[in-house]
Subunit: 92 residues, 10 copies
């Protein structure tokens, strides 16, 4: 099933730079693993913002929550989830 | 270039049913043509709403506006456009 | 899967009273059928409002959208859908 | 009487990890006691968020406030309370 | 139990003046009956607005909803309900 | 004259517990004095929130501001003031 | 006492032009009478909007409500009232 | 002086098409006159919306209001005005 | 030209009390100088808030910005500016 | 292609003054380079705010994001991007 997810990242001002770089590297590795597995189907940057729009393809709500809540940057994210149904005018 | 577009349709209460059905059929035909041409890359229904989330792939802002502003249901739509850039963690 | 749904009904001021009563009776019959089938698991009135809070248990987003978008009062409803996951502290 | 309650948890960034784990364990124990007693009738996780939707069944507003305001995570919560009445179309 | 209720009245522009006067007279009679019975404990006009702030004292949510949803002006009202608990610093 | 006042308290996370307890005790003493004098006519807790709804009866805006701005917890409060006029349907 | 009042006028689209002109003339006459009497102390147009910012000087909330609720354009206005106290840095 | 102005056009659903076309032609003629005179310095379409972002260069607030409030489409516009000052990093 | 300005002051919780008192004294002196010069024409306290409503009379936007951005409390202020035009019903 | 960008700067209260001055100087140099290159076509200060309205002229969304996300003050900015299309009434 598909879920539309918007994530806005609010890194704390006083976070240690090296620690945050490590978190970002871990986040990137995780995001790429999930893309390879097919769970994180689309990932786009919102121009001008530290934010992304994504589409996830996972079996159910629990699977989605398990992924999102364990992202390395989850503690610094504001997340909005929208369930996507098939559109009657969609070709594919 | 990619644009994230959310469209919410607010059909007027007192519209003639046959006229509105004709508009919806025209909208569907248009949406499918644009999907075949590659301009309307993704089209999903937001579950529980008369609304969609779409991704368009067009050369520039004028091309996007030309498409959106001539959709048969445009007069009844509330539209929100977000420019999408490449995400540094995206594989594809 | 569970979905939290809030529905606010905005009946048009100038609707024919008998036609609206018929719609409400159809809505009630539909709501009770769906409760009997187990799809509409909870249905509560928000005190002081023409609105309800509901929990649906359906296989996927498409099933949810199929139900909501064919409710007799759907054209007059503002609907907000929230996917519910299992809570780690929940007993049942 | 039934109350719909949404709780969003905003843990402070600089809280001591062990202290926060202890609070979370206390919160879980409290939530489970209240579920066993019947006061906390439903508890669901909102997918993708550090938040829950709950339904409480307590004698009155004072009882609800006494429970919510003494939850171990109360100082870090944003809480929204909605009184639920019986819906005329509800079966149970 | 006490409930804080704010009601904003939005009379339709095209309503028949005599019909609306009759509704307002019925609303006033109802409000005064409910004040005499003790259910509508306080009723204040918000200065500059067609709106009121009220406090109701009724046995439960169903009683509150029964009163509010049958007010003659209910179809034209936007209503916000807030449950009030005893304040630890209140004398009375 | 009557003023409807809503106060939401946002205690800073890092305040010294003993200092805050002293402030709360001073706030309570002040609230009770003002209730005895008749200036703070009603004081209710909003269920589930660190907030109250109050009604003040004071001679004018300056008197109201003098009271609110010297409350011991004023630096931590978000305050909303609404002037209340007599309602034409009010009995008392 | 002083009150800050913002009024936004939303004339209905289908109002009879002559009837609306008569209302505007009556509103202007009323506004000028109230300025002469000293009750409507300031009246400014918000640039680019069918709206004004005003300051009223009246004895109490009831007097303010009596004035505002009988303005000829009141049925088409959205009004926001803010009580003004003396500022400690104000000279006059 | 420069003013940033955003205009959103909300044409009424039931307006006569020929009458609205005439208004749009008048609006266009007016906009082009004002551009030629230098008062309407910039005019851009917001992609996907019946809205524009403009910059006006006029002597004062009264001049701006005189222009905006007499635009042929003014009755159908929602307008937001922001005064622009010189930016210390601007070259021109 | 006249500008309506609302200023909300948000003093940081951890500011040094003596330093803040010095800033407030400087702000007061500045506000009184500007009132004497005629630039700060009106200054009112919003009852119950650490906020004011003001009217400035200055030659242009740059002059307004120069004044506001150098107020001693500017770093702690949220400021909203509205240009005021002459109202057709205003006497003075 | 043109993009309308609003940037609000929220400097952290506890930032080192010299470090922040250095960032501001770097921001100014960057802004002037980009103006000279033609990418940052307009830059205006919003009167009364630590904020600007800008228009960028860049080849695509990626180019815009590359510029905005590397501005020296980017970590302290709230940014809103709006794609601008050609307006049918625009002369130039």
């Amino acid at each position: 099933m598909l879920y539309h997810v918007r994530m806005d990242v609010h890194p704390p001002r006083d976070i240690d730079a090296a620690a945050f770089d490590a978190l970002k590297a871990a986040e990137k590795a995780r995001a790429q693993d999930l893309q390879r597995s097919g769970a994180w189907r689309h990932l786009w940057r919102i121009a001008g913002a530290y934010a992304n729009v994504s589409v996830f393809d996972v079996p159910d709500h629990d699977a989605l929550h398990a992924i999102l809540s364990t992202l390395p940057l989850f503690p610094f994210m504001e997340i909005e989830v929208t369930p996507l149904a098939r559109h009657p005018s969609a070709l594919a």
